[in-house]
Symmetry: C2
Subunit: 148 residues, 2 copies
DNA sequence: TTAGATGCAAATAGTTTGCATTTGT
DNA sequence: ACAAATGCAAACTATTTGCATCTAA
C-alpha cells in the first residue's frame, strides 16, 4: 500500500533521519514481504535488491525502524533470529502455534480504550502495540488427539 | 508465590517431561527474579545456584518453557539477547519505552472475550498471550520537550 | 557544508550440536 | 530398565564495532 509506505517515510523524515538508500531499501524489502521476515530474510532480500548495501546498515535500519514503532522484532521460529513484523498504524496482532510455529494473523483488537486509559493513568505516550496469543492451531490439536 | 510455582511444575509433569534438576533450577531462577531476565541473566543465576548445570541445558529448558507458555521471549534491551518474561496464568502485559527501554508492567487486560472469540472463529486452542505497548515514558517525554 | 549515515571486515558473543554418560519414573 | 535429559566443548552463526569515506539536506 503506497499510502502506508509514504507515512513510514514521513515518520523517518519527521524524526530527523536521512532518507538514505540503505534505509529505503530495507523498508521496501519489508513491505514487499508484507509482514513477517527474519533478519536473515531481510539481509538476503536487501542484498538481492542492491548488493552494495552492507550488513551493518541493514541491522542499523532494523534497529531504527523498531525504535520508531514501524516494525517490531518477535520470536517465532528459532530462538536465535528475530522475526520482524510491520506494524501498520502502529499495531499488529497474531496467534502463534506453540507446536508448529504457524502464525495466524487477525485484525481485530479492542485496545484503543485500554491504550487511552494507560496513557492517562501512567503518563505515557503510546505509539503502538503488539498482541500475541499462544496456543495450538487446528491441525496440531487434531494431531494431539490422535497421538493419545 | 508457591502456588504459581507448583502449577508450573504440574504443567511440566502433565506434558510428560521429567522434573530434572536443571529444569527446576532454571524455573527457580526465573521465579526469583520475578519476571524479566535476559538469557544471559538466567545463565549467570543458574550457574551461581549450581555450577554443575551446563549452558546447553539452560537453553533447552528455556525453549521448553516457552513451548509450554510458561515464559515468553521478547526483545527489550539489545536486539541480541532475548528477555524472558514469566506469564503467570498464561499472560503478561507491559509497556516498553522506545527511548530508554524502561519497562512498565500493568495488570489489566480485557482480552478474555477476544480470546474466546478467536478460539471459536479460528478453531484454535489458546493458552496464553503477551501484550506489549510501545511509546515514551514520562521522563522521556519531558526530555523530548526540553530538547526541542 | 557538515552532521549523519554508510560499507567493510574483523571481532564478539550468544546459541546449538553431537555424543558419551547420567537420571527420573 | 530405559527413554529422556544432561554436561561438555567445539562449531556455528548472527550481530556489532571502529573507522575512513560518502551523502542527504
Amino acid at each position: 500500500m503506497l499510502e502506508e509506505s509514504n507515512s513510514r517515510i514521513e515518520r523517518l523524515r519527521n524524526t530527523g533521519h536521512k532518507l538514505t538508500n540503505a534505509r529505503l531499501t530495507v523498508l521496501r524489502a519489508l513491505e514487499n514481504h508484507d509482514g513477517h521476515m527474519t533478519s536473515t530474510d531481510v539481509l538476503e532480500a536487501v542484498t538481492r535488491m542492491d548488493p552494495e548495501i552492507g550488513r551493518a546498515s541493514v541491522f542499523r535500519a532494523l534497529d531504527l525502524f523498531t525504535q520508531l514503532s514501524i516494525i517490531r522484532p518477535t520470536y517465532i521460529d528459532s530462538s536465535v533470529t528475530p522475526t520482524y513484523v510491520l506494524m501498520p498504524g502502529g499495531h499488529h496482532h497474531h496467534i502463534i502455534c506453540t507446536n508448529c510455529n504457524r502464525v495466524i494473523e487477525f485484525e481485530e483488537c479492542k485496545l484503543d480504550q485500554l491504550e487511552a486509559e494507560l496513557e492517562r493513568k501512567l503518563h505515557v505516550r503510546l505509539t503502538g502495540h503488539l498482541l500475541e496469543f499462544y496456543g495450538l492451531c487446528e491441525s496440531c490439536q487434531d494431531r494431539a488427539k490422535s497421538d493419545s
